[in-house]
């Protein structure tokens, strides 16, 4: 059993199954460009495909690809709708209910403290679901008690409800001292309506102890008690890892990661806490193998992006809304944040041939593109009163005066079809999928496809995957895995069974890539260099040992169980230099 498990691990890592790998480890640098002309042997092609188009191979994946045929497997990955999704994934995602909610529903069901205040003041309805309503009312009561205790130390203010008021001592003892099984059983034996009170009254440590062993629904309740607004962020991070680990549509997941990062948004910027879920689900995901122009427009109109890059507040200097030397305090004007990042980061690239004047003109074109009620889930709207009515010139193209929302759309047409954009997008894709410093010949061909097919991203990917460069020695095992790739690929390699994925998401942050929390609009670097450093390497080694020794909370690993306790082979493998590469 133990032997089989380790053999499977070795196969999954591509260390044993593919001959001649060590020969490739010594390459690079010496003869740069020529490396991209020399093809890897046929028996390494499956390893290359699995390492670049998935979050790392699981035991048995190589055999599946071999029997299906590599070409057919790639075609399927490029057409994920034709592939049935893994039912295990659906099951694991089931309790993460914010994933299918609109922003507005999330605000209502998982309210921030400000929204709770508005509910109490009657400015906003409570959630329809009676259980959830009760839970929120309890939060309110708790907050009020806390407030009473805080400022004035009013002796008459009601005290926080102690656990001894809710439960007999015997049961508290069990919850505190019992084995995990006893604690869980004691809690679950309580009547349903009492469970919420008990969670609310528990000290933080006891609640945490219960959390570790709780089934998904109970975890949900505990998370609610800790702060409902946090649930939204946790669901996002957890779903990202679950999909990376379990999805059959692996390339789709990698592209989702790539494009979210390209059009990066920082989750913790104000209203974006409730807007990013929709953004990833409805704006990024549906377009990753579609037309770039559609993807671009979807991001431009998304409340998440409008909020993140401040465009929703931008007002044209020549807008109908009066503004002048007597403008009152708080009256608004032009904000060029989105205009600049649209050109620099989303389309042309910083060397794509635009000027400061273009940035300002683009910003004027997008005035009036704003959000209805951003703090309540928000939706896109065009506000003619704040739109700049004057003529604009963007990259040499005149946009006549008197236009409305179409001014922004014209800008999107111009930049989406610009040769600099074709080149910039192709370079970034090639850097992610092929090599840190991708060969110009490949980027040229991808850019040509981009321009010929009106920015069809599936066709650009196909050009890349049909290229000799993708299958070359220059590409093969040349890149270092990102933290997300490292964590997901390790769990996949040992066939870990993930019950609770949040600790893994924390690991990804420890390794240097907090998910949804890259503050800058640049996103994380697609180059490996970013991840090659001492802090990251040590964190990877520690994670490898923890996972392989079955000490990672929330994950069960069979390999380690089969091995003797003092055998750290799997951990050493996952922490090895080879495993950090892809």
């Amino acid at each position: 059993m133990r032997k089989r498990a380790l053999l499977a691990l070795g196969c999954a890592l591509g260390l044993a199954a593919f001959p001649g790998i060590s020969a490739y480890a010594t390459k690079k640098n010496a003869d740069g460009a020529r490396q991209f002309l020399r093809q890897i042997p046929n028996n390494a092609r499956i390893a290359q495909a699995l390492s670049r188009l998935t979050f790392g191979p699981r035991p048995g994946d190589a055999a599946v690809v071999r029997s299906m045929g590599l070409k057919k497997w790639i075609d399927l990955q490029l057409d994920p709708a034709r592939m049935p999704e893994n039912p295990v994934l659906a099951e694991k995602l089931k309790t993460l209910d914010t994933l299918t909610m609109s922003g507005e529903q999330m605000v209502r069901n998982y309210p921030s403290p400000q929204i709770v205040k508005q509910m109490v003041a009657g400015q906003m309805p409570f959630p329809a679901d009676p259980d959830r309503r009760m839970m929120i009312e309890k939060l309110v009561a708790k907050a009020e008690r806390k407030q009473g205790q805080g400022d004035q130390a009013d002796p008459k203010a009601p005290q926080a409800q102690p656990l001894t008021d809710v439960l007999p001592r015997e049961q508290i003892r069990t919850l505190r001292m019992g084995t995990p099984e006893q604690r869980l059983a004691a809690f679950q034996a309580l009547p349903k309506d009492k469970q919420d009170d008990v969670i609310g009254a528990m000290p933080a440590g006891m609640r945490q102890g219960l959390f570790q062993i709780a089934p998904p629904e109970l975890r949900r309740k505990i998370e609610m008690a800790n702060g409902p607004a946090q649930v939204v962020a946790r669901d996002l991070m957890e779903s990202k890892l679950l999909r990376a680990i379990y999805s059959n549509r692996q390339l789709d997941e990698i592209l989702d990661d790539f494009w979210f990062n390209h059009f990066n948004i920082f989750l913790d910027k104000g209203a974006d806490r409730y807007l990013v879920t929709e953004y990833e689900r409805d704006v990024i995901r549906p377009h990753v193998l579609g037309k770039f122009r559609d993807l671009l427009e979807a991001t431009a109109k998304s409340p998440a992006m409008l909020f993140y890059l401040d465009n929703w507040q931008s007002v044209g200097p020549n807008a109908p809304q009066p503004r002048g030397p007597n403008a009152k305090k708080g009256q608004r004007g032009l904000n060029e944040n989105y205009g600049r990042e649209l050109l620099e980061l989303h389309t042309l690239g910083v060397d794509g041939g635009y000027t400061q004047k273009d940035v300002t003109e683009v910003a004027r074109c997008f005035t009036g593109w704003t959000i209805n009620q951003p703090q309540r889930g928000g939706s896109f709207t065009f506000n003619r009163r704040t739109h700049d009515m004057g003529a604009k010139v963007v990259l040499g193209v005149t946009i006549p005066a008197g236009g409305g929302m179409e001014d922004g759309e014209k800008v999107l047409d111009i930049v989406a079809h610009h040769p600099s954009t074709a080149r910039f997008i192709s370079t970034k894709l090639a850097q992610r999928f092929v090599a840190d410093d991708p060969p110009a010949s490949l980027v040229d061909r991808m850019a040509q496809t981009f321009l010929k097919t009106d920015g069809n991203l599936r066709e650009v990917m196909r050009t890349m995957l049909d290229s000799k460069e993708f299958w070359s020695e220059g590409a093969y095992r040349s890149k270092m895995k990102s933290p997300l790739e490292m964590v997901a690929s390790a769990v996949r390699a040992v066939n870990g069974d993930v019950d609770f994925v949040f600790p893994l998401a924390n690991q990804v942050a420890q390794l240097g890539e907090p998910l949804y929390r890259k503050q800058e609009p640049t996103g994380y670097s697609n180059s490996s260099q970013e991840w090659m450093n001492s802090a990251g390497l040590l964190a990877r080694m520690n994670f490898a040992l923890q996972l392989a020794n079955d000490k990672m909370p929330g994950v069960k690993v069979d390999t380690a169980k089969a091995a003797k306790p003092d055998d750290s082979t799997a951990g050493m493998t996952l922490g090895s230099p080879e495993f950090q590469k892809k």
Binding site: S22, A25, T26, K28, D310, Q313, S314, V315, K329, G330, Q331, R332, G333, L334, N335, E336, N337, R340, E344, L345, V350, Q356, V359, Q510, L511, G512, Q519, E520, P521, T522, Q529, E530, W531, M532, N533, S534, A535, G536, L537, L538, A539, M541, N542, L545, S568, G571, M572, G575, S576, P577, E578, Q580, K581
Partner: protein
Amino acid sequence: MTTRRIFLRNSALAMVGVGTAPLWLKRALYAADAPSPRKKILVAIFQRGAADGLNVVVPHGEKAYYSLRPTIAIPRPSRGEKREDAAIDLDGFFGLHPSLAPLKPLFDQQHLAIVDAVGSPDPTRSHFDAQDYMESGTPGLKATHDGWMNRALPKVEGKVSPVRAVSLGTTLSRSMAGPNPAIALQSIAGFQVRDAQAAKQFQDMYMQSKDPAMQTAGRETFEAVSMLQTIQKQTYTPAAGAEYPRGKFGDSLRQIAQLIKADVGVEMAFADIGGWDHHVNEVGQRASEGQLANLLTQYGQGLTAFWQDMGDRMADVALVTMSEFGRTAHENGNRGTDHGHANSMFVMGGGVKGGKVYGKWPGLEKEQLYEGRDLALTTDFRDILGELVSKHLGNPTVKGVFPGYAPKFLGMV
């Protein structure tokens, strides 16, 4: 013959007498007259996101400042009730943002110098490019692979400390990347493989790796791990009751202080503090409130705590702060500012000639602005860094640190 040292001691003793002498000076005076074997140390702080220099070092003597920023200007210094929401005067023309009040005594004691209208001459207003240029030390050149701090490490014969260059955080800063060994460190306590036996095996594995980059990173990592082993077990209490602000920035500075005081051979340290990109609502209802004020509070408290904690060790240390570019001289339509050009820098240390705002003020009238919108640049950031590398660290080859540029020293050290 009255030696220079005795002269210094006497005049310094006079200072001790009136209670203004810094701690390090007191201890230095009573220490043996032998030259210190301790190395000079340079600490660099990067404010990512382009800090609004004009609201940090406020040109309150400039009329145009107030007309360009009708709703977000920091009010002129005041002695009255509004003192807490007004600039803190430095020299009759410039003032500090009120949230930087803890730094004022350091300025008065001449340990803190400020440079204004300083920055990178490259016209880019891209955060990414501008940070890259400032950290590589080569504005306009994208092909530079290594960072200025890596090149600035003095050449030495023989063995060097594996932790001579430390970058705080989960990734190695661009400033510090390069051929000289430099490590990224998130926390001193966590800088180890938790299983000793596995650590040994990993070490062998990385040393034998056929991937040169992996091998180098692995070797540097494990050498640093063994260097830090002894101080990992100690609990660290900052000296003189110094209180670092909560959060990543405070943690970084506290650990830099700990490393320096542990005498493990640190010569360069780098930390960053993000979140300066205030396009919207930069200033709250009062100058002492809002996003910029909150961040400056953290920043000011961090620097002050570091100063207090370091005590007399500050004699060996120079700390310099920078940000990729400044922000528009005029406020934008959302009580914020957009990407601009020149900015301000802070330099603090025992050997720094502080108490002065350096640099030539270019003015804020329309025709004085860079491209009609931003504070113009009169000092190249490499002049400041170059002087620190040359005069403070004593590295004689400053030209190699900033290729193609000859820094002009301002006489700050």
